[in-house]
Symmetry: none
Subunit: 248 residues, 2 copies
DNA sequence: AAAGCCAAGCTGGTCAGACCAATTTGGACT
DNA sequence: AGTCCAAATTGGTCTGACCAGCTTGGCTTT
């Protein structure tokens, strides 16, 4: 009851999309037509609108092609960015990998970044401030900031890795648990300052500063994570239940 | 703009999506909430499912963020340029990522490696020599060598990344093509020397030497790749006749 | 018998209305 | 003034229906 599903309220079309993707990878060839929407709906036990949303998402991911009044066809057997499946590692392992890679990404971004890059980074920062002002976690903007930085390298492999690591970290149950046991408000100014420093260094086209700013940021995350991890284990031993929940 | 007026039955959600995007760029700020789906449907004179599909497409494009039971929020004023439709990246992008990561993996392996690590690396090297003696490509042993090195870091995330990058590289069609256009025999002694140097540095627990040995190795791969890539493109343009075509 | 033609049926595209669950909000109560 | 609860709001999903273009199979015509 306490620990059953703090789970992800996943939209059902996402589940259906994954099942369709799996079905295709298992037994469909390129160019082949999928069953009709109505049949898929019956197969998966959902309504047609849900199936339509799943198909649309896969079409946008470049996996399917919808031809009106004809059918849905497979145009690629691999779903876009699931190249790296990083699951089952602790947040500390994940963080170490980020510490290895992201400072260098920041350095390259400082060299190769364009005005468009800076604009997108500034956008992410603006959104982060807004989310913080709302008293909300800035997960979306944080994700976007790091991915945009990776995109600035022009290297799709690095984008994919950075994206995977970020997702794996925030989706880890431990990470979520920890967020419940610490006052994130105390850290938000630091997160914001970290990102602003990275942005400034990148925009100034200073690779070394960008790299060290990113290193500092990730070190701060690691420190916070260690504090929280310790607090959590202590709380687990001393507080059986009824710990004051933060609003999420 | 869209020079296809006659027979382009555009799906209505695409029209709605464009209108929403225009609306946002005209008068919305980041973080701001959009009107409710029902209101948008009324505004644009379409049904709610159509609005939902439009919102979903913009969400997948990284422009909007949907929060259940709360609303739809602007996270970027511009549509993210084909982030999700990476058609797979070239071998050079892949190699650059490896150049960023693997030297550091080697350095960490030199610090944390155990006797078991050294034994497995030596095994991989022995296999490599044997495969070369057989006149075969040493892909299996090469793969194993790099993965074992990553495993020596004790970080599962790094193992996964290293493994993914290696697979993506060798599985890329371009990589395979190139192998057909160059005499790999000429390079094998170099590959072997490279790996032996890495192994020696790791076993000597010298992180700096391990890192630079790995860098040298990857630089050699890059050079060979460039030579082969050039040779291939020249062969394609200048030698229509008598080029040893592979049967496809 | 072969060629062409047309209607019935699939299939995606869209619409309308309804209910649910989670979030938000505002007022009532303490 | 602070707390707490219930109603309103909002996205999530379902049902069932109708439309328009493509497909197919049978039928007519040559």
């Amino acid at each position: 009851m306490l620990h059953d599903p703090p789970s992800k309220p996943e939209r059902s079309f996402e589940i259906v999309a994954r099942r369709i993707a799996a079905m295709i990878q298992a037994s469909y060839r390129i160019g082949q037509r999928l069953p009709a929407e109505r049949d898929l709906a019956k197969t998966f036990g959902v309504s047609r609108p849900t199936v339509r949303e799943a198909i649309l998402s896969l079409a946008m991911a470049g996996m399917l092609k919808v031809r009106s009044n004809s059918g849905v066809y497979v145009i690629s057997r691999q779903e876009a960015p699931d190249v790296h499946k990083l699951e089952g590692f602790g947040p500390f392992e994940n963080l170490e990998a980020r510490q290895l890679i992201e400072p260098q990404i920041a350095a390259i971004a400082a060299q190769r970044g364009t005005e468009a890059t800076f604009a997108q980074l500034a956008e992410a920062l603006a959104m982060m401030r807004w989310e913080h002002a709302q008293g909300r976690e800035a997960d979306t903007s944080d994700h976007r900031f790091h991915v945009v930085l990776a995109e600035a390298t022009g290297n799709g492999a690095l984008v994919s890795i950075c994206d995977s690591l970020w997702r794996a970290q925030t989706e880890s149950g431990i990470w979520q648990e920890i967020h419940n046991h610490m006052r994130m408000e105390d850290y938000r100014p630091m997160w914001l300052r970290d990102h602003e420093a990275i942005f400034a260094a990148v925009q100034a086209r200073n690779p070394r500063k960008a790299s060290s700013a990113m290193t500092r940021h990730l070190n701060n995350i690691r420190d916070a994570l260690m504090v929280a991890s310790k607090a959590k284990s202590m709380a687990a031993t001393k507080l059986p239940k009824n710990s004051p929940r933060k609003i999420r």
